[in-house]
């Protein structure tokens, strides 16, 4: 008990110094109170990263309201009140979010690995896209192949094809417009 009182007095002095602009005292205080805040927050939150997130919120709140601490009063009580309040707010916020959001397992499975999805989607779309590209004019097909499929830069594509950069830009623009028309038209 005596030790706790001593610690409270120590923190109280650090905060009083911090209020007067002593940054070193403030940094020391914040580092020293973090384990205490974590302990308070852990009563409402289990996951470690969650505890850390709420602890950081508490630190931000302390920073914002540090002018409300009266050095004549116990520091630990002031700190615990803020930590408890922020922790409960965070819990409420989480419950509110969970009440409005639905966990869709199939959606999760579908999108868990975007790379895998791209492979599946690409194979499904490949036939239609290949046909559409085959239907482009030769300059458009060349521009699309160099710039989009092989992902070359405009300068590289210009060097390979012997066409000017302006001509490549025009052709790729027309090609995309034409592909969009063909693909959306095919879907309808």
């Amino acid at each position: 008990m005596g030790e706790q009182l001593e610690a409270d007095r120590h923190w109280s002095l650090l905060m009083a110094a911090a209020q007067d602009g002593d940054r070193a005292a403030y940094e020391r205080l914040l580092r020293e109170i973090v384990p205490f805040i974590r302990a308070v927050v852990s009563r409402q939150h289990r996951a470690r990263d969650r505890v850390e997130e709420v602890t950081q919120e508490v630190l931000l709140t302390i920073h914002r309201v540090r002018h409300t601490y009266d050095p004549a009063r116990p520091f630990r009580h002031w700190l615990a009140s803020i930590a408890r309040r922020r922790s409960i707010d965070a819990l409420r916020r989480r419950l509110r979010t969970e009440a409005h959001e639905i966990a869709d397992d199939t959606a999760y499975e579908t999108f868990a690995d975007p790379a895998a999805n791209r492979v599946v989607e690409a194979s499904a779309a490949r036939d239609g896209l290949g046909e559409a590209i085959a239907g482009l004019t030769p300059p458009q097909r060349e521009a699309i192949e160099l710039l989009k499929l092989r992902e070359l830069s405009l300068a590289e594509a210009s060097g390979l094809s012997g066409k000017s950069i302006a001509a490549l830009k025009v052709n790729v623009h027309r090609a995309i417009k034409s592909l969009r028309q063909r693909l959306t038209g095919a879907e309808e």
Partner: protein
């Protein structure tokens, strides 16, 4: 994860400017109440018929009602300033409740006497609409001057603080109303006063909640 917290602490310490500590809440409440008292006293001296008021206040029952109204206002304002600080117990919100109960009881008793004398005629709306407008009209500037002072403490439970502050403001407005209310309170008056006080409490708390939601 922990290094994030370390970085945050470094950032907060680096930008920590000196801050001015808030003065004790009772002192802050007293200063606000003194300013309001000065303005209201000037308005009453200029516009109220004090002879009529003195005659009515001679009735000890009305005097009691006035005392409880004012007491509710003062205690609610003190409670709001206390509650706006992070380390004050939520029980401060109960401080104005006993005097609020006595205020309701004493004006209820006045109504009952009025009912005995006038019967259901007391339900006539009459000047009650003016009372409603008066309480709202006085409460709005009082609330506008009070809320920023309460927010200075960055309250952790702003809606509760605003509700208690709203009660204080409405009670002070109802007290001031008595100087411009040259008749005994009727059941309709009581209902109108209660409605006006509730509207003020709900409006101040609601506005605070809306601001809180927007901030995040």
């Amino acid at each position: 994860m922990t290094s994030d917290t370390d970085r945050l602490i470094e950032r907060l310490a680096a930008e920590a400017e000196p801050v001015r500590r808030l003065r004790p809440p009772v002192l802050r409440a007293a200063l606000w109440l003194a300013a309001v008292a000065a303005v209201l006293a000037a308005a009453i001296l200029l516009f109220a018929n004090l002879d009529v008021f003195a005659r009515r206040a001679a009735d000890p029952k009305l005097a009691l009602e006035l005392i409880f109204t004012l007491l509710t206002g003062i205690l609610a304002i003190v409670a709001a300033f206390e509650l706006s600080l992070p380390d004050r117990a939520a029980a401060w919100a109960l401080l104005p409740l006993p005097s609020l109960a006595l205020w309701i009881a004493s004006s209820g008793y006045a109504c009952w006497r009025h009912w005995i004398v006038y019967g259901p005629d007391g339900w006539a709306i009459g000047e009650s609409a003016d009372c409603f407008r008066f309480i709202l009209g006085v409460s709005v500037p009082l609330a506008v001057s009070l809320v920023p002072l309460l927010r200075r403490a960055a309250p952790l439970a702003p809606v509760r603080v605003a509700a208690v502050g709203g009660l204080g403001v409405a009670a002070i407005a109802a007290f001031a109303l008595q100087f411009f209310h040259p008749f005994d309170i009727t059941i309709m008056d009581l209902a109108v006063h209660a409605a006006a006080v509730s509207v003020v409490v709900a409006a101040v708390a609601g506005a605070e909640r809306a601001v809180g939601r927007r901030k995040g």
